[in-house]
């Protein structure tokens, strides 16, 4: 009956205008700059009557009466309602509503609005991550967010970057932030997440933002929200992107074959003059030295790269006209042009009650280095469903399979990157008969080109992340949410070393296989209670969380492979020691949070969390973490309303604590481990000393800042923070008499203080041309406050109170003695490296006139403090242009004041101490009696001058400015796409890391956060073209 009445009423409503007088209304719709907006929908509220504005923003409309309301709407703009009230002309200004879209942000255990938030957090939108030729999203974050430092230390496809939020807060434990995906903390393996599946990220920086994650929040938190479907038309989009990658820079030049041959000759000749002696004890004369050098040079270099037996004259120079047969550029052999392919298919859609999103992704990077590549297949399903008026539920599912080929890194002989630097150019890749040449003077039997064909280093990973939730609104003011997560990873590794050459030759081939799986289960149950008054709002969250992690591994190995190319263990005639074992951790937590806001002006928040972890000592199982925060929106105060140019001003402050529990499982126990077998008997050995006191690292964070918007164009945000880390987990160095060189203990305190500033400026906002620029800068100062030992020497670094964690401590290079060609170091007798201020016997006055004492005896020089590996400033500069259907953006990343000890360069500047190992072309400038003023010492074969020992000679300023990304895109006009029955089509060309400005000599100044290089694959630069089609 009711239904019938409503149908009749509806009909009456529709019919009635036919009897009413038709009235005409007109007007224009413009944007804030006064330019007409075409295509704006103008509808009479509650009816189907409406029209669309023309190119100039003009509209005219027949309306049923003069007392209706009109609704003006346009995508990306605020919707405006106007009561006609008898008017015949209505002009409307629509403003951008992008500001409004940013308002809701995902934070710890829920969402909030930007206005209401008391913490320091920044949202990074999908635009920053989509269609970037990187395997994992964190690499796209470099330079986007103040306080966030991202460092890629390897160009291995699939390798992850190091992410640090607001300075390194830990000495020994991990400084990696906690990653939370769709509300559930996840284990590492960021490259298992397809960046194209991410809707946005929230970087939680201070205690008010992160402290609710308790013992895992010390290094900040990054919350990942994946894409979801929206009610409305189902949208299918297909992205494809293809590109080529290459080594990021050329690095310093290496010697060619003639140069290394001549240089080696000179080294032998110098050796002869200095140390050569006949059987009877008579020293060599000049001719003896020449003869010795002629006789030994081929053996020293390994090969005579020339067409004749005696290519050098008595001055060690190549006789003009000598034909060079071999001149191998080993870098050209090891590095190649990579191809990147990235394809993604997304389907998003839904109804009011159910929305879905699913995607398929394929990513392949063939790598820039021999036998390094990465292939990934991803799939994602997100479903959210409203069961009834008070229950909603959803599931989010990521499934990933990847295959990586990654040659070994570090100083191992099988590392192709190192091979390219140390094998000299006189060594051929192939023998005359076309087979590989396995001989060279640097790493005999390791030809990187040959090994890339014969050896296998392959890793397969399967990852499933499945999160599900149910949300129940128990009362209008009370809701309950239960979230369960499964994060499962299964990894398989295969290292096959062929029986003939390289590492496997000694055992006639070796194959090792490993399998590990890691399962993290987490459950959280959270109650949320909200009470709104007329002027205030009160919100309380309380709940419990349990996370358990269990991993197992299995590895086995066999040697003696009779047939090459078959890596399966079944082929190995001799099985080796297998191993397996589980490992386990648990974290039990209770948490609560309260938020209060009064009048939309004053906001307060407080949180508390208790965590118990299995990793810590008997006496320190529980940790308690809290935070308080407040913000004040001054611009909402009545007395601020008159300041028209100030659109927003908010002050914020917070203080709180969090913890770091990133140390190994069972770290507190004294343990004996297996495998110490002897003479065929099984044995065990003490492997870990007991430490019952071991506890959390705690960080107390203070943050104060403001957010503002001026002239409706310029956003200015600034923050000051101080993060005090205490009880730092650190391998306290021990005397050998205690059996171990160190023990993990809570011994240190450190502080990171910093200033962050972000400026966003909408410079031009006409309807056709837009230009926005955004700049951020972070200055972070890291300072150790307290160590158990007064100072700890660790390689090239000195840890001590008052200094940075990565402070270099090195002998100070004083150049080359112009009279002898020997290296010199400043004595620095008054340094605190050695007790007493005794000038050693070997000291003499600096011949370069510095007035200081120098020595040519390395061990007599004392080490001094020389800068740090951490930058003084870093940040990004982003520029976005759009003109009609073109968009163009580029952004820079910069890092200033950081130093790198260039280990690679030191290897190639050995001054003869490693004869036969390749040299940098700079070594041509070595001291000779005719080249006395140089920074390169004399070149002597088997040199004992120690000039290439660790000193500031190889310490370089690694400040740099990099064009991180540049993209030009074109979106096809709608009229055209409609003709092809498409919803949208965009084509783009994009470049990553195309240009770097730096004084650093190596491949990549980004290579190391700690300032040391490890022969990792250099970074890459990439150019891609792509197409995005919306169906």
């Amino acid at each position: 009956m009711n239904k019938l009445i409503s149908v009749i009423v509806l009909h009456l409503l529709l019919i009635s205008p036919m009897f009413a007088q038709e009235l005409t209304l007109e007007g224009t719709v413009v944007d804030k700059t006064g330019i007409g907006l075409p295509g704006v929908n103008v509808v009479v509220d509650g009816t189907q009557i409406g029209t669309v504005t023309n190119l100039d923003g003009y509209y005219s409309l027949q309306i049923p009466s003069r007392d209706v309301t009109l609704v003006y709407s346009f995508i990306g703009m605020n919707t405006v309602k106007e009561e006609v009230n008898g008017r015949t002309r209505i002009d409307v200004i629509l403003s951008d509503d992008s500001q409004k879209l940013e308002d809701v942000m995902v934070v710890a255990y829920g969402t909030t609005t930007k206005e209401a938030y008391t913490g320091a957090a920044q949202v990074v939108d999908k635009e920053m991550m989509e269609n970037r030729p990187v395997t994992s999203f964190e690499k796209s974050l470099q330079g986007t967010t103040a306080g966030l430092q991202v460092t890629s230390s390897s160009g291995q496809p699939g390798a992850q970057a190091t992410v640090v939020i607001r300075g390194i807060g830990s000495l020994n434990a991990s400084s990696t932030p906690l990653y939370v995906i769709d509300g559930v903390p996840m284990a590492g393996g960021l490259n298992d997440i397809n960046p194209n599946d991410i809707e946005n990220l929230t970087v939680l920086k201070d205690a008010a933002a992160a402290s609710l994650y308790g013992s895992r929040a010390a290094n900040g938190v990054i919350i990942i929200t994946t894409k979801k479907g929206k009610a409305g038309q189902t949208r299918i989009s297909f992205n494809s992107q293809v590109g080529i990658s290459s080594r990021i820079s050329d690095g310093y030049k290496l010697m060619n074959s003639s140069q290394i041959y001549e240089q080696s000759w000179m080294g032998l000749y110098n050796w002869g003059l200095l140390y050569g002696e006949h059987e009877n004890g008579d020293p060599f004369n000049r001719q003896d030295a020449i003869d010795y050098a002629h006789g030994s040079v081929k053996e020293t270099v390994g090969f005579n790269p020339f067409g004749v037996d005696n290519p050098l004259d008595d001055n060690g120079q190549v006789i003009p006209g000598t034909k060079v047969l071999t001149d191998t550029d080993w870098r050209d052999e090891v590095y190649k042009t990579g191809v990147i392919q990235n394809y993604n298919l997304n389907v998003a859609g839904g109804t009011e009650n159910t929305n879905i999103f699913f995607s398929l992704g394929y990513y392949n990077d063939s790598g820039t280095t021999l036998s390094s590549d990465f292939t990934r297949y991803t799939s994602k399903i997100n479903v959210n469903h409203k069961v009834n008026s008070y229950i909603s539920t959803g599931i989010s599912n990521n499934l990933t399979y990847s295959e990586t080929n990654a040659p070994p890194g570090g100083s191992g002989f099988a590392n192709p990157v190192r091979s390219a630097e140390v094998i000299n150019a006189a060594s051929p890749v192939y023998n005359n008969d076309g087979t590989y040449n396995w001989d060279n003077k640097a790493i005999r039997d390791f030809n990187p080109v040959g090994l890339s064909e014969l050896d296998i280093y392959r890793y397969n990973d399967v990852r499933g992340i499945l999160n599900a939730y149910i949300n129940v609104n128990l009362l209008p003011s009370l809701s309950f949410r239960s979230t369960g997560g499964v994060d499962y990873a299964n990894s398989k590794g295969l290292n096959y070393l062929n029986p003939y050459h390289g590492d496997g030759a000694g055992v006639e081939g070796r194959s090792s296989m490993s399998r590990s799986d890691n399962m993290i289960l987490s459950v959280s149950n959270i109650f949320n209670w909200t009470k709104s008054g007329a002027d205030s709002n009160f919100e309380v969250l309380t709940g419990q969380e349990l996370t358990t992690g269990k991993s197992t591994f299995l590895s086995a190995e066999a040697t003696k492979f009779p047939i090459p190319g078959f890596p399966d263990l079944s082929w190995g005639a001799k099985p080796e020691q297998p191993s397996s074992g589980p490992s386990e951790w648990k974290l039990l937590s209770y948490l609560g949070q309260a938020k209060y806001n009064y009048g939309g002006r004053y906001y307060f928040s407080a949180s508390l969390r208790g965590d118990a972890s299995t990793r810590f000592g008997e006496d320190n199982k529980w940790g308690l973490f809290y935070s308080v925060g407040a913000s004040w929106r001054l611009s909402e105060e009545s007395w601020m309303q008159d300041i028209a140019w100030l659109n927003n001003l908010k002050l914020r402050g917070s203080y709180g604590t969090s913890g770091n529990s990133s140390i190994g499982n069972y770290a507190s126990l004294g343990l004996y481990g297996s495998g110490a077998n002897y003479g065929g008997f099984p044995g065990i050995a003490f492997v870990q000393p007991e430490n019952n006191d071991i506890a959390w690292e705690s960080i107390a964070s203070f943050n104060i800042g403001f957010e503002s918007r001026l002239f409706n164009r310029l956003d200015v945000n600034m923050e000051y923070y101080q993060r005090d880390s205490d009880g730092l987990l650190f391998g306290k160095p021990l005397s050998a008499s205690k059996g171990f060189s160190g023990i993990i203990t809570n011994l240190g305190a450190m502080v990171n203080k910093g200033l962050e500033a972000t400026l966003d400026y909408d410079a031009i906002r006409t309807s056709n041309f837009k230009y926005a620029v955004s700049f951020n800068i972070t200055s972070n100062k890291n300072e150790i406050l307290n160590l158990v030992n007064d100072r700890i020497l660790s390689g090239s670094k000195l840890l001590e109170p008052g200094a940075s964690l990565h402070q270099f401590y090195l002998q100070e290079w004083a150049g080359v003695n112009p009279d002898t060609g020997q290296p010199m170091w400043f004595v620095n007798a008054d340094s605190d490296d050695k007790a007493g201020n005794v000038i050693p016997e070997s000291a003499y006055l600096d011949p370069h006139g510095s007035g200081r004492q120098v020595t040519s005896s390395y061990s007599d020089a004392e080490r001094v403090r020389k800068g740090t590996a951490l930058p003084d400033f870093y940040g990004g500069l982003t520029n976005n242009f759009s003109y009609k259907n073109f968009d163009f953006s580029f952004y820079f990343y910069y890092s200033l004041g950081n130093q790198i000890y260039n280990d690679d360069y030191a290897t190639n500047m050995h001054d003869g101490s490693q004869p036969g190992i390749n040299l940098a072309a700079d070594a041509l400038d070595a001291w000779t009696p005719n080249n006395r003023y140089t920074n390169v010492p004399r070149y002597v074969a088997y040199s004992q001058d120690e000039g290439n020992q660790m000193s500031t000679r190889f310490l370089e300023d690694a400040s740099y400015l990099r064009l991180k990304n540049i993209t030009l895109g074109y979106t096809l006009p709608q009229a055209w796409t409609e003709r092809f029955h498409l919803q949208g089509l965009r084509a783009f060309v994009s470049g990553e890391n195309l240009f770097t400005l730096t004084k650093f000599k190596g491949f990549d100044p980004e290579a190391a956060l700690n300032g040391r290089l490890g022969n990792a694959i250099p970074g890459v630069k990439v150019v891609t073209v792509g197409l995005k089609i919306d169906l």
Binding site: E277, E279, Y390, I391, I443, R444, L474, S482, G506, V507, N525, F527, S580, G581, P582, S583, K586, L588, T614, K621, Y666, L669, G670, L671, Y672, S674, G675, A676, N677, Y678, G679, G680, F681, P682, G683, I684, A685, F686, V687, Q688, P689, E690, K732, P733, S735, A736, S737, K738, G739, F740, S741, G742, I743, T745, N789, L793, K834, A835, Y942, Q944
Partner: protein
Amino acid sequence: MRISTYIYIGLILLAQTLFVSCNDDFLNPQPETSIGDKDVFKSYETAQAALVGVYDQLSSYAFEGLFVPIISDLTGEDVMISPENNYNWFVAPYQMNTLPNYTFSESPWWAGYKVIFDANMVIKYAQQIPDATQEQKNRIEGEAKVIRAFVMLKLAQMFAPAYAADSEAPSILLAIEPLKHDDPDIGRAPLSAVYTQMEEDLLSAINLLEYKNDILDKGFFDKRAAQATLARVYLNMQEWEKARDMAVLAHQDVKLMAIGELSNGFYYRNSETIFTVAYTADDNNVYLSIPSFYYPVYGYSSMRANNRFVEQFSNNDARNYYFVMEPQVDSERYLIVKFLHNQQVGNAERISIRASEMHLIEAECEAELGNNSAAQDALHVIRSRAIPGVQKSSAVGQALVDEILIERRKELFGEGFRWNDIKRRQSPFVRAGDHWVRFDFEAGDKDYYRMTYPIPQSEIDNNTALTNEDQNIGY
């Protein structure tokens, strides 16, 4: 479902986690691939495994398996390392230029102290093993004591001056308890204290241990091995009588190798072996082994003999065959074929103590004691085996001592003795002939500091009881 049902489920979940948190095991999971240190000595099997583990660490390449013996010969005149194709292994020791941060100083130090630490655990708890017989307890404790003394002796020889030069000189760290990480650090003990400790340990071990004459047991220390080690300790102390007595006890009833066996390659224990590093190729790095460096092919193959040394062997000396000139491998220097691979690269035990050394100790002590005839007899045992038909020496006094010392070099080169033999007698150090790094200095010269290794920089940095002032002279 009704709302109340959800609340009910939620409460159950909460209650469950509350319950588990009260359970002690929940937050104290135990590892499954290792054993708590307190549990190790609760049974004989695990205690015995812990003892085996100490031997394993002793045998590692960083200590008795390779570094200590090879460095001991390279710090001498008889052999050298070829700089070719050797990847810089042991070049600094040969150049007599091992700096405090070099692995050749760091590795033996750290490896040695780890062995001592684990041995200290065994010594401390051996008598408390509940299910062991007294005999078993004694054996475990005794073996661990020999290991501790054996390692201390090697460390003292490397890192401290000679006992004969200054018995009160600062030496090594005297760690005789398993120290905890927060115990006070200990500094360098005077040499005399270290020698007293070694003597005490070995005398105690001789009491606790039995003779084990089965060749299969030679990978472990027995009473005889304790006596032999003590003979070495006394020899360093120039306690000639005590050294002789121990040496005689140690070689008593031991059948020396036959002349034919001298060329068998020293890769497996033989009749005169008192202790061998029972190296197995399957759980060790085969390239870091003695034959890998000594044998002319298959490994690093970079050890060479000095021509002046080779010339001292008479033509009819069976040991002359240890040296070959093979221009295809090395056109200039003598290759050494004393140490062979056993079928596979690096598959070789390293004979660490053998009876011939004990005869030579006996000879040297007797000569020093003026018992020329006894010394000549003892020397003749070794010499007549290698050189059939050789006449017994008729030298006396210093000439006899010198002859015995030369014989020691010939018999034991490559087995890790030369460095200490020069040092313990404060003899001159002279490299001549085809050495590519030469020296000529004697005790009292500035360069003599090279005969003592630097305390590793890491130890000085880590140990609060040490500063750079405590470093050995010359570094």
